[in-house]
């Protein structure tokens, strides 16, 4: 297992359309639900992202849950944020992840603690996301951040995040290019709803050589779409989609409509993009259906 390379990299290099999805670790130490979701996604996706105290809410460690996925035969993408670790902990956890068999890293800034359930906590951000990408790249070259040779370093397939819908876009675009220069080889994007705009971004971004998986967020209800529009930065659910959801009766029917929309978006991505990254946020059991319909 130790010598195995990233299956995600292999799949993306192979040129096929690659699907990943994210799973959120449990709040406590009962992993049954998490593992059930993993089994459900196994063999239907290439890799599963494990979120890292997403929205700054304390949960079971993303590193530990990534290892649990490995044991289930699901390839993990270990998400690492800059919020909770200084540069010593970052490097140490990365080395730990490598020796435990994790091959994919997704480097993120991390939501601010003021959004989470431990608002009094010190937000670390000793590194930012570009510096985190650089750190993984340095370890991949057998050194640490102090340029000290490590004997053996890591060989992670290194990913980062980009928000193709950011407004204004140019600072985000510059940051995307910095991440590529720092060593990012694949990108999972924030939720896309404006496919034409995303296509333009993709066409430009692709020329930098990185692989791009378009982020698809499952809209579970019209209420959720409204919530996203008023509370989540950089996410704009267009009115047509909100209306489409609203036409379905509340409850299961709206979820079915959301699944249909997500499947349609994945299908659109299949026409031009390297892959799709499905974020079902607690509704992972719907992911196989989205994939089947796409």
């Amino acid at each position: 297992m130790m010598e195995e390379a990233s299956g995600l990299k292999k799949a993306l290099d192979g040129g096929g359309f690659v699907i990943t999805a994210e799973i959120c670790p449990p709040r406590g130490s009962d992993t049954a639900g998490f593992l059930a979701k993993a089994r459900l996604l196994k063999d239907r996706i290439v890799a599963a992202n494990v979120t890292d105290n997403q929205r700054a809410v304390m949960r079971l460690s993303s590193l530990a849950c990534s290892v649990l996925l490995l044991r289930e035969g699901v390839e993990p993408v270990f998400q690492m944020t800059c919020r909770d670790r200084n540069r010593l902990a970052v490097q140490s956890d990365l080395l730990g992840a490598w020796v435990l068999g994790i091959r994919n890293i997704l480097a993120l800034t991390g939501d601010h603690v003021s959004f989470g359930d431990h608002r009094e906590a010190k937000a670390v951000y000793d590194l930012d996301s570009v510096q985190l990408v650089h750190t993984v790249d340095v370890l991949n070259h057998g050194k640490n951040l102090k340029d000290r040779a490590l004997g053996n370093g890591t060989g992670f397939f290194l990913g980062a995040v980009v928000a193709p819908g950011a407004e204004p876009f140019e600072p985000e675009w510059i940051k995307f290019r910095k991440k590529v220069e720092a060593g990012a080889r694949f990108f999972q994007t924030q939720a896309i709803f404006d496919m034409e705009r995303f296509k333009r971004f993709f066409d430009d971004a692709e020329t930098f050589g990185a692989k791009i998986l378009g982020g698809i967020l499952l809209l579970k209800s019209a209420k959720m779409a409204h919530y996203l529009n008023s509370n989540v930065p950089g996410v704009k659910v267009p009115r047509e989609l909100v209306e489409e959801l609203e036409k379905a009766p509340e409850g299961g029917a709206q979820l079915e409509k959301g699944i249909e929309i997500a499947a349609r978006q994945v299908k659109e991505l299949k026409g031009f993009c390297h892959g799709a990254h499905i974020m079902a946020i607690g509704q992972e059991e719907s992911v196989p259906k989205i994939i089947a319909m796409a």
Partner: protein, 215 residues
Amino acid sequence: MIITKKKAAQDILKRLKGKKTVHLFGCGSCAEQCRTGGERELVEMAAMLRDNGYEVTGSSLLDETCYNQLVRKEYRTNPAAGRADAVVVLACGAGVKTVASNADETQPILPALDTTFLAVVESQGRFFEGCSLCGECVLDSTGGICPHTECPKGLLNGPCGGVANGMCEVNTENECAWVRIYSRLKKQGRLALLMEYSPPKDHSAGIRPRKLCLR
């Protein structure tokens, strides 16, 4: 300018339990300007303490309470200060610390304020954090806008994914510091600076306590 805010009365009273006489120190510099440690606040504090059964034996409003010499002189020339059971200081942490290092070690020195930030004084009574005292100034490459201070995450290589129409997701009434840096550098024809990789900050420049000795 150092910004301070008043502690709750009960937090001060809690530490005064068992004491009878109290001396007050104010500060005629920053604390007076942000209305936490001037003449008026000393009068209010004295009234509050008397209402709660303490005898206020006097108060000293120094020009700058963070000046060792001024505090030392006050203790020497005003014996009431040294005789009180406890001292309550209406100044920033540096002021409290200066009083504490001049008082007899047996005399408890209590802060009446919380010290919050180093401010730009926009106009009278309006203060905004302008500098984090990080010891490694980057304003040369950020158009005069400090990413350590004005970005809640202190990011050094551009905005996070939380920008919504140019606004910060943490302080939603503020424009994103990195969007402002971007706009400023664009106007200066220096956008190329944004493409430069900023390495992680050198925190060894700020190991505490810091000092400067000119002689």
